[in-house]
C-alpha cells in the first residue's frame, strides 16, 4: 500500500474538471485507491467521479490517498505527480 498526503493549493479545490482528470488517471491503473478528506473524515474511491466530487475538497484541504494493487508503485507516483502539477 502506498500513501500520499497532499494539501490542495488551488483555491477552487477539487472541482469537476480536475476531479475528472484525476479519476481518468486513476482508472488507467489496475490498483484501487481511496481518497480521504481530513477535514470531514469522508472517503471515496478515486476511480469514481461522483464520489470524488462528493467529498467537496476545497482549497487548503489536506487529503490522504491510499493506493493498493499490483501497480501501486507506478500509480502512486503518477497520481502524486499529477496532484503537484495540477492542484499544488
Amino acid at each position: 500500500v502506498k500513501e500520499i498526503v497532499f494539501t490542495v493549493g488551488d483555491p477552487l479545490g477539487l472541482h469537476a474538471r480536475p476531479a475528472g482528470n484525476l479519476v481518468k488517471l486513476a482508472q488507467s491503473f489496475k490498483s484501487e485507491g481511496t481518497i480521504t478528506l481530513e477535514r470531514s473524515g469522508k472517503c471515496a474511491s478515486v476511480k469514481r467521479l461522483l464520489a470524488v466530487m462528493g467529498l467537496g475538497v476545497k482549497g487548503g484541504d489536506r487529503i490522504t490517498l491510499l493506493v493498493k494493487g499490483e501497480d501501486e508503485e507506478e500509480a502512486a507516483r503518477a497520481i502524486e505527480t499529477w496532484l503537484k502539477e495540477n492542484l499544488g
Partner: protein
Amino acid sequence: MKLMALTPFGAIPNERQLLHYSIGKKAFFHVGVNTFTDVEHGNGKEDSTLFAPTDARVDQAFDTAHALTLITDGGAELLLHVGIDTVELQGKHFELLVGAGDRVRAGDALIRFDRSAIIAADYHVITPLVVGNSDEYDLEVLATGDVKVGTPLIRLKRKEATT
C-alpha cells in the same frame, strides 16, 4: 520509379496517444464560437435553464450552483455542468432550483442561469453532461445538433457484466 518507405516527419505518436485512438468515440463537440454563425451554440434565444434529462435523484448540489450530479433510477451517475470554468464565478449568475436528495422528473428545472451575463464575463456556456460511470454502460447517441427540451439525447444500456 522505385518507392521508398517514408520516414515519419515530425512527431511520432507515443503509446498513450495510440491507445487514445483505439478508444471508441461517440461524439465530438467543438467548444467555442462557431466560425460560420458567430454564436456559441443555438441562437441565443433559448431558455437559460438546465433541465433534468431523466428521472433521477439529486446526488450533490454545489453551493456554487453551476453544476450538480444526479443518480438516475437506472443507476447512472450524471454530472451536469453549466459552462466551462464557471466554478470561478462562485455562484454569481446561477440559481439552484433543487437540493441534494430531491427527486426530479425528466424535464424538471434544475438550475437557472443568466446566459448573457456568463458570456459577458467571458465564459463559455456549453454545458457538458458527463456519465461518471460510463464504463458500466453502452452509450448510444440519439440526437446531434440543435435539440429542444425533451428530445432524447443518449441511451444508456447497462452492460451485462462489469469487472
